[in-house]
């Protein structure tokens, strides 16, 4: 296998990944108490001290915590004094990783710590997520996240692209795969259950839970020094489409397709795909636009149907894909993260290992 084609100013790789056990509730832990062990684990993998990190970027949401500037509380866990170079996105940590990757590309940092977390348990996440919708036409109706995904699922069924048994099989496959993932919240045989919002049943929907994840990025020789087999980010891109659901073809995801093209997904075969598809129906859309064939292992970690800590689940996809490269189980993987209703925003990264 030839050396991966790197199209950017600097070679940047994921060199370490850690995540918490994802649990339905973590009442005994504040956000920083939940995040800190994960930070320590990811630093320990590289031997770096907190003060040696060039840039730190996190992702989280105040609406989950129910208070403003909630991310400042977890900053204590990274050793933010004396002052560090730090930033935050009110998004899934995959977008924090993108910001950190840009920072390294500019040459202003050689290493970056990226982390994200979400505690969904204090509130009702289905209702909380309605507050991210258009405030004029949608938010006053309180359409919850499951309802919006169900509209997309029905559109796919009407288009003949899936049916309820096929959706159930996606959930079953994901939770079976999660048996090999000690961090997963749901694994093994899980009943498909009743309709939540028809046509989606409980088994088509993600578990609600709390969790955190962290990765370390490094450039060039630093990456080689910190990791035996770095997961090089040979392509990364993110795209957004129109806010209004009624303007979009819900059976398609042009933003994912464009991001994948720009990231170079289609330039060589893949062996692994970690897709952020919180609903089984969304995996149908993503497989189609990414052109994933049977030879690709899709969500060997179990994916978001096995653990979906809001704001961390997308970063975990990048981390899981990278970890497979670190372990030599993958040579070329695609990682995908989403945000917003019905795959509104999508980030796609290609990760490659050096040839053995």
């Amino acid at each position: 296998m030839p050396r991966p084609t790197v199209r950017y100013a600097r070679d940047v790789a994921v060199v370490a990944f850690a995540q918490s056990d994802h649990l339905r509730r973590t009442d005994e832990l504040s956000e920083v108490e939940m995040v800190m062990p994960v930070l320590h684990q990811v630093l320990a993998q590289t031997g770096l001290k907190a003060g040696e990190i060039g840039f730190t970027c996190s992702g989280s949401s105040d609406y989950l915590a129910g208070r403003a500037f909630s991310f400042t509380m977890t900053l204590d866990g990274v050793g933010a004094w004396p002052p560090i170079s730090e930033s935050h996105v009110e998004m899934d940590g995959a977008w924090a990783l993108y910001e950190a990757w840009v920072k390294i590309q500019t040459g202003e940092a050689d290493t970056a710590l990226v982390y994200s977390y979400g505690k969904s348990s204090p509130g009702s996440v289905r209702d909380v997520l309605t507050r991210q919708l258009d405030p004029y036409y949608l938010a006053p109706l309180w359409p919850d996240s499951v309802a919006l995904a169900a509209l997309q699922a029905q559109a796919l069924i009407d288009a003949g692209e899936t049916d309820e048994p096929a959706l159930a099989a996606i959930g079953a496959r994901s939770r079976a795969a999660a048996e090999a993932n000690p961090h997963a919240q749901l694994s093994g045989s899980v009943p498909q259950g009743d309709y939540q919002v028809r046509p989606l049943r409980t088994g088509d929907c993600p578990p609600i839970g709390d969790g955190a994840a962290a990765v370390i990025l490094a450039a060039g020789d630093t990456a080689r020094r910190l990791c035996a087999r770095p997961a090089w980010i040979t392509g990364i891109d993110h795209r957004i489409e129109a806010h209004a659901l009624g303007l979009r073809d819900l059976t398609d995801s042009p933003s994912t397709r464009i991001a994948a093209e720009r990231a170079g997904v289609f330039e060589a075969p893949l062996d692994t795909a970690e897709l952020h598809a919180p609903f089984s129906s969304q995996e149908v859309v993503l497989r189609k636009v990414l052109g994933l064939g049977d030879g690709v292992a899709v969500n060997p970690s179990g994916g978001a149907l096995a653990a979906n800590p809001v704001m961390a689940a997308g970063l975990i996809r990048i981390g899981e894909a990278a970890a497979r490269i670190h372990r030599g189980e993958s040579d070329r993987a695609v990682a995908h993260a989403t945000s917003g209703p019905c795959l509104q925003q999508n980030l796609v990264a290609v990760l490659e290992g050096d040839p053995a």
């Binding site: 129910g66 204090p122 405030p135 509209l151 029905q154 919002v197 009624g246």
Partner: protein
């Protein structure tokens, strides 16, 4: 006093976040929402002739400004749906209903709303529906109470509309309330539990040995968990202060009063509190103070002088 951190007895309390989300409307949204109040559904027409309902002000494909208003019918066709067997609070209907995207007759895009139907068997993509208007309308998306099944053919084309109405709606208030059950975590639970016994409990960093009050469970310098609980105070030293001359609403304290940073004995950083029991212009750095608890108070009401000699500057300069 030093004790190992005890297993948490988790505190939990309801936390309600309420906000009136106040938004002004541009010309297009104003016309649309005012139209709903008047029982008229408006859309916008893009330069390629696409009619968007609900309307947007900029073409999502070209970013071109769109201002050409048109009127569409109050009847339409379901483009996709989802049966909601268990309506959640605040949703348009409190009986089971279908969420629907509806392409109104004359429109090329779909509007999200609720469909009142007897059951999922009676709903399908392609079915014909019409608007059921709310009895009282204010200029909001909820002026459409919901959709209802409708037997009838598609009703014609979009017609030009000037968008002019008497007393147009220029803003909306989207009321929101989210209910949480807040748990402060291990370290803050210990702090709050200590206060209930009129004790101030900090936590010591195992690495730099600084004692944090109130503790948040982590040392921000070392990035490690603070583990050992330490009772600090009750007395402390004023490290800096300010004189407040503005009366806060709902606060029953005469101005001027003094607000100070107070380093409790044994603490590695200062917390803040009000100083009482001394004229405001006699408060000074180094003043020794102690907490004053009111009957049933859950934290010190204020701090008052202990009568001890002032602390030496060198004793607290690191904590300013």
């Amino acid at each position: 006093m030093t004790a190992p951190a005890s297993p948490p007895e988790v505190l939990r309390a309801p936390l309600v976040v309420e906000f009136p989300f106040t938004r002004s409307l541009g010309p297009v949204q104003s016309a649309f929402l005012t139209g709903l109040r008047e029982g008229v559904v408006l859309g916008v027409k893009t330069s390629d002739g696409t009619v968007m309902v609900p309307p947007v002000e900029y073409d999502p494909r070209t970013a071109e400004e769109i201002r050409e208003l048109v009127e569409v019918a109050a009847t339409g066709t379901v483009t996709t749906w989802a049966w909601n067997g268990r309506p959640r609070p605040n949703q348009p209907l409190d009986t089971p209903f279908a969420w629907v995207l509806v392409k109104l007759d004359g429109a090329d895009t779909a509007l999200l709303h609720a469909l009142d139907a007897p059951g999922p068997e009676s709903v399908r993509t392609g079915m014909r529906v019409r608007v059921r208007w709310a009895a009282e309308r204010t200029g909001a998306i909820t002026d459409i109470a919901c959709f209802e099944p409708h037997d009838g053919p598609a009703a014609g084309q979009a017609a030009p509309h000037d968008g002019n109405f008497a007393e147009p709606v220029t803003g909306i208030v989207a009321e929101a309330r989210l209910d949480y059950s807040y748990s402060p975590g291990r370290a803050q639970t210990a702090y709050i539990s200590g206060l209930s016994e009129q004790k101030t409990i900090g936590e010591r960093c195992p690495s730099c040995h600084k004692v944090y009050v109130p503790p948040r469970g982590a040392c921000p310098t070392c990035g490690v968990a603070t583990t050992d609980q330490v009772e600090v105070g009750p007395a402390g030293t004023v490290t800096t202060y300010c004189i407040v001359n503005i009366k806060a609403r709902n606060l029953d304290i005469e101005v001027p009063y003094v607000y100070a940073h107070i380093a409790l004995d044994g603490a590695g950083l200062a917390l803040h509190g009000r100083i009482g029991g001394i004229p405001y212009d006699e408060v000074r750095m180094g003043l020794r103070v102690e907490p004053v608890w009111t009957e049933g108070g859950r934290y010190p009401d204020h701090y008052r002088p202990t009568g001890e000699p002032d602390a030496d500057y060198d004793a607290y300069k690191e904590l300013i």
